[in-house]
Symmetry: C2
Subunit: 462 residues, 2 copies
């Protein structure tokens, strides 16, 4: 049963499992104690720290283990901002950071700080020059992920790090998605990552802070982990995390080439096999194992459920799969279609057969979901003369219905005339412009609709 | 090789190990996902929460899992204080709480709040009436441990909970040391605990917050664990923690009776076998498996090292075993001797033979440490007339030397006359009065010594 959601969590690597079992026997005691069980635990902890530091490319005393990648980000952002309080109160982040970074930013804003979001292009990458312009004299910290968790696009970390050095602003790199594949380019000041993304166990993150970076840990103090991660060390899991990081790194070159080819296959074949699909993210500067596409006229939740029934576990950034019923902030920042969104992230060991079976199953699944929703399957009919402005009332209807209704009527709109879609669904704000882009129609704009919701204006140009 | 430091960390319970292995296979995926691996993880998480809630005595939706007991306390204190901000800014804690509670209090004070410490008696317990008096109209939260981690004394939780209810102040109970032995008495509002104290794995704490208790989680937000514990759930470890809690509870009645008898044996025999020993903590209202005693004229660090060489792993609250070179705040609050301090906490399965071997080894170890330090071994000689005030200069000498020097000269002091001990060691402030109490001499008081350090005045009365 192919599991295609490695970007959420990967199954435990066999090396991690072995290390975990050994460390459960040898590393359960308190590493702060001086008796033999404590000394043994301390040796395991020191060895794990050295192995992780080598993989990260830092000194062991620059690296602490945290209970998760999220906690590493929270502690890193809060500590770096507090350490640079005198420099300023401004935090600069890319618009497509992981929610842990954005939530740390919200907490900073709630405490009186300011947060500036650097936009991304349609591929999901920031422009280093635009990022550099956001670094003003009040900027205490900048955050940039190494690669995006939803669309796989690699960020220009080296260029942004150079700009940060120039501006004398420390850069925190969230390397959660990429650390298993290789080290982050030089120039970062802080780095955060998460073990269960590279085949380590849950319960372990890491935070590296370069010597010389001003850092003031926030929250109640604690002697463990250099005062940067309170609480008893999760030692067996830390040992397993370090062991699996070393193991996946040893396999990374070969495995990434293999998975990159499988992802290229998906990137090429999906638009050939399924009509009205947008593959998103940078086709070249990307994670080896991750590809995301969106299917017009499809409801993401139903699509995921159907794929699950066929044995495929994938995730989605569609609004209907989110508890808040808003599309993923990443897709929104990129300005790409969010309806029928599917993220495929291949774990190590995924076979060509797994991928081929997925490609065999997907077209039928998408077609059946579209059928059930009454989506337009053919190209629209030649335009006829109609009078007045066409208004499609999709108020109260959720994604992907507003776009489906738009697609149904566009054939009735004369070239040069407009159609208005009324919708109160958050996804429409992203998906109606994205549909126009895909279909070669002109998106004119939106305005508030007096009786509630929003009116989206589209001009037929072809 | 007997390990006698279960109060720091216990080896993994066999049931926990089994559950962990099973959950590594079944519970590695993200429980927030809707595909089959995610649903399976969610089921394991729900089942673990139900089992833990049953053992705690609360509803499953009142309980969240945290990365450690320390983080449970930090989150609980911060969330409860913020939730009651309008009621007031005062935090009331016992003087012998775990450092995680005291550190949370320090963070609260640093943010402008106030912290009141309720003193304890020589047994280590608070007086419920004194605790009640500390609860004023500005009190936002009170914290009381269920039992003390260093001396084993049980706190009068039910009485203090009643006083808190009367004062309409929520009570957070740190149940880290006792939860494996049984539920906390009714009346608490928040409860924190730590799995590796009950034979669960590291990396798991729990925080229960009763419905109706005002609670505002602090720090960056996150959707997981009801917004109270950010980051990917440490699921296999959570499953193992819940399984071992259930398992140790099933064994608790029998095992606690057995260990209680072994601890009674230590409490009785140590003072018979080793001269000049003070056994501390309540002899009856106490944890079943824990006993602490202090040995006059002994350096705790050397004592622990010698016991370790003999195969016994114990811990100590002596100043010389602390990174800050101050005696344990618990012993200090109790006003008992801190030098030569030994905490013995028996893990489940400790045998009578283990304990008897400890009792056989201890007297020789203590005697050898005392010999090396030149400690007075006999009762002092009959007093002779001396003129002037005797001054013992122990400046620059560390615990237990100042007390040893005092004991050496006390025989030269006429009954009714005084001796002054000069010391700049923090432990002397606790241990010189404690020595007087043990020896039946009068501790007169202390004053700053003009050339640095402190002068401690002792009157010979017997």
């Amino acid at each position: 049963m192919p599991y295609f959601d490695a970007a959420s969590a990967a199954p435990l690597h066999p090396v991690a499992r072995q290390a975990l079992l050994a460390a459960l026997d040898e590393g359960w005691a308190d590493p702060a104690r001086l008796y033999r069980e404590g000394r043994r635990a301390r040796m395991l902890l020191d060895a794990a720290r050295e192995a992780a530091a080598e993989a990260v490319g830092c000194r062991p005393d620059e690296l602490v283990f945290t209970p998760s990648g999220t906690r590493a980000v929270h502690a890193g952002v809060a500590g770096a901002l507090a350490g640079r309080r005198r420099a300023g109160e401004r935090l600069v982040v890319s618009a497509v950071e992981h929610s842990s970074v954005l939530h740390a930013g919200e907490a900073h804003a709630a405490a009186g700080g300011t947060v500036a979001e650097v936009p991304v292009g349609r591929s999901g990458a920031v422009d280093p020059e635009v990022f550099a312009e956001a670094l003003d004299s009040r900027t205490a910290l900048a955050c940039l992920q190494s690669a995006n968790h939803e669309v796989g696009t690699e960020q220009p970390v080296a260029e942004v790090a150079a700009a940060c050095r120039e501006a004398e602003v420390p850069l925190l790199v969230d390397a959660a998605q990429s650390l298993g594949w290789g080290p982050v380019p030089e120039g970062w000041s802080l780095l955060a990552a998460s073990a269960h993304k590279w085949g380590g166990p849950a319960g372990v993150g890491l935070l590296a802070v370069r010597k010389g970076v001003r850092f003031a840990p926030q929250g109640p103090s604690d002697e463990r982990e250099s005062g940067r991660a309170p609480g008893f060390e999760n030692l067996p899991a830390i040992v397993a995390a370090a062991a699996s990081l070393r193991a996946v790194r040893a396999e990374a070159a070969a495995e990434s080439a293999r998975l990159r080819a499988l992802v290229d296959r998906i990137r090429t074949r999906v638009p050939e096999l399924v009509p009205d699909v947008e593959v998103v993210g940078d086709p070249l500067r990307r994670l080896p194992h991750l590809v995301t596409f969106s299917c017009l006229y499809v409801d993401g939740e139903t699509l995921l459920a159907e794929l699950d029934r066929e044995g495929f576990s994938v995730s989605s950034g569609s609004s209907c799969t989110s508890s808040t019923l808003t599309p993923s902030h990443v897709l929104r920042a990129m300005g790409v279609l969010s309806e029928g969104n599917v993220r495929v992230s291949l774990p190590a060991g995924t076979t060509t057969e797994d991928v081929d079976r997925f490609l065999a199953v997907l077209p039928g699944v998408v077609a059946s979901v579209r059928d059930r929703l009454g989506a337009p399957s053919a190209m629209f009919a030649p335009p006829e003369e109609t009078s007045g402005t066409l208004v499609v009332d999709a108020l109260g209807r959720r994604c992907p219905i507003p776009v489906i209704e738009l697609a149904k009527v566009i054939g009735d709109v004369p070239v040069g005339a407009t159609v208005t879609v009324l919708s109160d669904d958050e996804a429409a704000r992203l998906d109606i412009p994205a549909w126009c882009e895909m279909r070669g129609q002109e998106y004119v704009g939106e305005e508030a609709w007096p009786k509630g919701g929003t009116a989206y204006l589209v001009r037929r140009v072809s």
